[in-house]
Amino acid sequence: MGEQIIILKFDDVLSIELNQKIQRYAQAIKEKKIKGIKNLITAMNTLSIVYDPRCICEQRLKELLLKISIKSHERNESGYPVIHIPITFDEKYAPDLLYISEQTGLSKEAIIKVIISKTYYVYMIGFIAGIPYMGNLDRRLIVPRRSSPRVRVPKGSLAIANQMINIYTIESPGGWHLIGWTPMNVFNAKRDPPCLISAGTYVKYEPISVQEAETWNETRQREWDAEWPL
C-alpha cells in the first residue's frame, strides 16, 4: 500500500490459528530489528509493515521478510492471558437483545448464557480508539450489522455483528447490535499502553447486576483485578 507500507496478506479466512501465526510472525520481525522498519500492525489476516524508504528499498525489505521463519507454537491457549470483563445484560443497556432473540429464535436468557460460556480470542485492535475485535461468536448468534447505524453508541457497550463481538471504547456512531454494557475502563488515553486488551489475548465476560454496574468504582475495580489476576 503506497511507497512506505508493505501489507503481507495471509489466507483469506478468519481463523484464530492463522491470526496467532501472524502475531508470532510480527514478533519474529520485531526481534530481527531490521533497520528502516518504523511500525508493525497486525489485523485479521494481514500484517502491515511501515518502513522508511530512505533506509531500505521495497525489494530488499521483501527479501529480508521472506527469510524470517516463524517459530512453532510456543504457548498453547492456556498460556495466553484471559481478561475477565464484567457485563450487565440489563435491558436498559442491551437495546438489541430482543432483536437478536427474534432473529435467532433463542430467548434472551439463552443468548446471555451462550455469550458468557465462551472465551473469545482478540484478533485485532482497531477502528478509532482501541476497539478490540473478538471472536468467534457462537454460530447461532450470527446476525449481520444493523441496516442503519446508530448515531451515538455509549462508551462501554458490548456489541455483536457477524462472527464478531466488540466493546465500544469511546462514544461513537456504530452499526453493531448492543447486547450489554461494561463499567470497566478498557481504554484509557492517559494510560500506556492505552488498551487493557491487546491483540492475541483472550477475553471472557462475567455477568453482573445492573446495580453493580451503575455503582462500579475504583475500589470495586481493585477487588475485581484481585479476583481475576492476569
Binding site: 500500500m1 511507497e3 507500507i5 500492525i41 485479521m44 530512505r54 482497531g126 480508539a129 482501541g130 469511546i170
Partner: protein, 317 residues
C-alpha cells in the same frame, strides 16, 4: 513561558503536531497536521524541531492576541493573514510584539493553514503526541478545538528570536496548491478487486471533493468504480492516503484522523509527497489521479526529505 489569547475561534482551529504514529497497533488514529509538509516547514522556520505543536486553521482563521514578544510563521493555505490589520507574508518567520493581533481574511487558496510559534504550543502529551483528536476528546487544548477565551501556552524559544526572525524559504520551494490538479498514487493493495474498466476510469476522469469531507476523510464524487465481485474484505489496516472504495463505487481518501481499520477495498494509496497537496483541496475542487510506480514515489519522498533535512540543519548551527 508566554501565552496567546484566542479572541475568535475560526471554523476549526486545533493544536496539532505530527501525530501518534507509534500507537497505530492499538487502533489509535494517527491524527496530526493534515498537510504535514507545510506544518514541518512552519516549525523549521521559527527554529523549532519539526514535530513541535502548532495551530492548524481550517478555511476560516481565528483572531489571536499575543502577550509577549515572539516569532511566528504561517504556512499552508493562504487565508490572508494580517498582523494588526496589515497583511503579512507567509512562509516567513515574523516578529510579533506584546499586544499584536493576528487575524485572517479571505481564503485565497488551499484549505489548511499552520501557525507555528518559536517555542511551540504547550499542551499535555497524550499517547506521545499533542495532537487534538476531537472524536476521542483527547489531545490538544482539552481534547477540543480552540474556543473564544482560551489561553494558549507557548514554550520558550530554542533559538534566539533575532536569529530566526526574517527567515523565509525561496519562492520556488513554496508548495503551490491551486495549480496541481493531478494527484499521484500507487495501485493496490486491492486493485485486483476492480474491473479493468473501473481501473481505467479511475485514471482518466476527474473527481470532485464532496461537502462530506473532513479531517477523517475526503469523499469524492465522480464516475462510480465497479468491483468484479464485492467491495468487502476482512477488516484490515488503513492509513492516511489510502483510497477506499465502498460498494457504491465512490472513492473516499482517508485523512489524518481516519480510523485504523476498515473492511472496504482500497484501490490505491496517494503517494507520500502528494498527501499534503491533496489535503489542501477543499469541497468543490476537482482533481485527477495518476498512477506511478513505488520506485518513483520513493524517489520523490527521499528528495523531499533531503530538502527538509537541509532546512532543519539551519536550526543546528
Amino acid at each position: 513561558m508566554a501565552f496567546v489569547t484566542c479572541l475568535k475561534a475560526g471554523l476549526l482551529t486545533t493544536v496539532q503536531d505530527l501525530g501518534r504514529q507509534q500507537y497505530q497497533y492499538y487502533g489509535i488514529s494517527v491524527s496530526g497536521a493534515m498537510d504535514r509538509l507545510s506544518f514541518r516547514i512552519a516549525n523549521l522556520l521559527v527554529g523549532n524541531p519539526e514535530n513541535f505543536a502548532a495551530i492548524e486553521v481550517a478555511m476560516m482563521g481565528p483572531l489571536l492576541q499575543f502577550h509577549q514578544e515572539g516569532v511566528i510563521a504561517i504556512t499552508g493555505a493562504d487565508i490572508t493573514p494580517k498582523i494588526n490589520a496589515i497583511n503579512i507574508p507567509m512562509w516567513k518567520a515574523i516578529s510579533i510584539h506584546d499586544g499584536d493581533r493576528l487575524s485572517f481574511g479571505r481564503l485565497e487558496n488551499g484549505c489548511y493553514a499552520y501557525i507555528a510559534f518559536a517555542g511551540g504550543v504547550q499542551v499535555p502529551e497524550v499517547m506521545g503526541s499533542k495532537s487534538t483528536f476531537i472524536r476521542g476528546h483527547y489531545g490538544g487544548q482539552f481534547g477540543r478545538a480552540l474556543r473564544k477565551g482560551d489561553h494558549i501556552q507557548i514554550g520558550d524559544p530554542l533559538l534566539h528570536l533575532n536569529k530566526v526572525s526574517g527567515r523565509s524559504i525561496p519562492g520556488k520551494s513554496i508548495p503551490s496548491y491551486q495549480e496541481s490538479k493531478e494527484i499521484r498514487f500507487v495501485w493496490g493493495p486491492h486493485d485486483h478487486y476492480f474491473t479493468d474498466e473501473a481501473k481505467e476510469t479511475f485514471c482518466s476522469v476527474s473527481y470532485k471533493i464532496s461537502n462530506q469531507s473532513d479531517r477523517m476523510g475526503y469523499r469524492l464524487s465522480g464516475k462510480a468504480l465497479s468491483h468484479k465481485n464485492n467491495a468487502q474484505i476482512l477488516s484490515d489496516y488503513i492509513a492516511p492516503g489510502a483510497i477506499q472504495v465502498p460498494g457504491n463505487g465512490q472513492p473516499i481518501v482517508l485523512m489524518a484522523d481516519c480510523q485504523m481499520s476498515g473492511g472496504y477495498t482500497k484501490i490505491g494509496m496517494v503517494i507520500g509527497v502528494d498527501i499534503p497537496v491533496f489535503a489542501q483541496k477543499k469541497p468543490g475542487d476537482r482533481l485527477r489521479f495518476i498512477p506511478v510506480s513505488i520506485e518513483a514515489a520513493q524517489k520523490e519522498w527521499i528528495s523531499q526529505e533531503k530538502w527538509l533535512s537541509i532546512l532543519a540543519y539551519n536550526n543546528h548551527i
